[in-house]
């Protein structure tokens, strides 16, 4: 707009000055000079004068205009630089803001991860607590059972002692009186067998009630299995045959005598209970390197595949209500785990179940 105006102005000015000059310069010369020679000479000067004057005039005029333009240009340049800087700064600020956001995001992610981790930890802690609670209940149960059996065993052992002492006296009396009677022998032998059996059950109960957390007691595996069989007599129906395939040498392992009794009583009772009419329970013991292996194989009803994975779950039972708490195998499993051993089941419906207990046999 301004540029156009300037062009118009300069053109108009030039036209006006030119027109005025053409109109009035000759007249002026006519006033000043009357002779043709001077007139003609000044006519030439007049052209030069016009050119110089207009040149000077335009010089100032254009210069003024150009200065203005240049200033504007400079200002624009400054402005542009300012803008660029501004944009630069803003961009930098934005970058920083983005970086800060990214960091915040990262932190949030980390926090989220921590929360997730804590959540998982809480869950496992809860699970552990539940297991612990369950075990505490068991320990409490076993502790009161221990006190009870220890008391009973002391009270029963004294009367057993009377019978034993009386029997010894009678045996001596009969020997000295030289009475030889098959029936008397039978009676005495029956009393002796009765005392021995009652004593072995009392010993078993005593062992079972030994309540401590010691895992480094010297455990005689064969004695523990024999005791467990004696204690499980209540479930040992006459149609069940127990086959012992024990190693020819004693197997001594580190462990908790009372708790290992619990393991084998549970497994033996289960084997007995699985057999309906008639069957066998084969107990095998052997050692391999630093491991003692006991297998208890019954020819009972067996367990179906879908149930097999659940049998060590607490409170899982297939028995009639009141015939099993569903805790036996769960306790067994926990005890074996405490001993750093393993418990494995193989079963086929109507054919039987084989339980394999592997326990470390090396004393530390």
């Amino acid at each position: 707009m301004k540029r156009l105006k300037f062009e118009h102005r300069i053109t108009a000015l030039y036209l006006i000055l030119g027109a005025l000059w053409i109109l009035f310069s000759d007249k002026l010369l006519g006033y000043l000079f009357s002779d043709i020679a001077s007139l003609s000479r000044f006519q030439t000067f007049k052209g030069v004068f016009y050119v110089v004057t207009t040149a000077v005039f335009f010089y100032f005029f254009i210069t003024k205009h150009l200065v203005k333009l240049r200033n504007t240009e400079k200002e624009l340049e400054n402005h542009k630089q300012n803008l660029t800087q501004l944009v630069h700064e803003k961009t930098k600020n934005l970058d920083e803001a983005i970086e800060a956001l990214r960091k915040t995001n990262e932190k949030l992610n980390e926090k989220n991860k921590i929360i997730n981790k804590q959540n998982t930890e809480l869950k496992s802690t809860l699970k552990a607590l539940k297991e612990m609670q369950f075990q505490l209940i068991q320990i409490e149960k076993m502790a009161s059972l221990g006190i009870l059996t220890a008391g009973i065993s002391h009270e029963i052992n004294n009367p057993l002692n009377f019978i034993m002492g009386g029997l010894t006296g009678l045996q001596n009396y009969i020997r000295e009186s030289k009475i030889e009677d098959e029936k008397v022998e039978l009676y005495l032998k029956s009393i002796k067998t009765g005392i021995e059996r009652a004593t072995s059950i009392m010993n078993g109960l005593n062992q079972l009630s030994r309540n401590n957390d010691e895992l480094n007691e010297k455990c005689d595996l064969h004695a523990i299995i024999e005791n467990s069989l004696a204690i499980s007599k209540g479930q040992w129906k006459s149609n069940i045959e127990v086959i012992r395939q024990f190693a020819a040498y004693p197997i001594l392992i580190p462990g908790n005598v009372g708790k290992l009794h619990q393991v084998f009583i549970n497994l033996i009772v289960n084997a007995f209970q699985s057999i309906g009419d008639k069957g066998t329970v084969t107990i095998t013991t052997e050692t391999q390197k630093d491991k003692a292996i006991v297998t208890i194989a019954d020819t009972g009803c067996g367990i179906s595949k879908d149930k097999l994975s659940r049998i060590t779950d607490p409170f899982y039972t297939t028995k009639e209500p009141g015939h099993g708490t569903g805790l036996g195998l769960s306790i067994t499993y926990n005890i074996i785990q405490d001993h750093k051993g393993t418990l494995e089941f193989k079963s086929a419906l109507k054919k039987g179940t084989t339980v394999t207990v592997v326990l470390p046999s090396k004393f530390i």
Binding site: H154, N157, N158, L160, F162, G165, T168, I195
Partner: protein, 128 residues
């Protein structure tokens, strides 16, 4: 050589009677129904060679009784009878040589008799 003198301490009267009845032919048996009577016997009979005591008795247990008895007579072989599993007290007494052995109830009189026999043999061998 007269019969060897043995003291048996138990709070169950029937146990005392049976022990005495079964072993009186071989040994001179003194019996005590409580540890105090037992200590009295030891004080009065310096020739007691063997003392057998029940573990669980009122007032004082078998080990406590034996520790007191040792102050009166240290030349005696002491034994404990228990209706329980071996306890820490008993294990400790065994380790320190306070008692020679412990027997589980119901006890086998023949086994105890054999053990006493060995002890007496040891004792006389040492005397010679």
């Amino acid at each position: 050589m007269g019969k060897v003198k043995i003291l048996y301490v138990d709070d169950e009267a029937i146990n005392l009677m049976l022990f005495q009845a079964n072993l009186e032919k071989k040994y001179d048996i003194l019996i005590a129904e409580n540890p105090f009577t037992g200590l009295q016997h030891i004080a009065e009979n310096k020739d007691i060679k063997v003392v057998v005591s029940d573990m669980k008795m009122p007032v004082m247990n078998g080990i406590e009784f034996i520790l007191k008895a040792r102050l009166l007579s240290s030349e005696v072989a002491y034994y404990i009878l228990t209706g329980f599993e071996i306890t820490e007290d008993i294990q400790e007494a065994l380790n320190q040589g306070i008692i020679r052995r412990y027997f589980r109830k119901p006890f086998n009189i023949q086994e105890i008799s054999r053990e006493i026999e060995n002890t007496i043999t040891d004792y006389y061998e040492q005397q010679e």
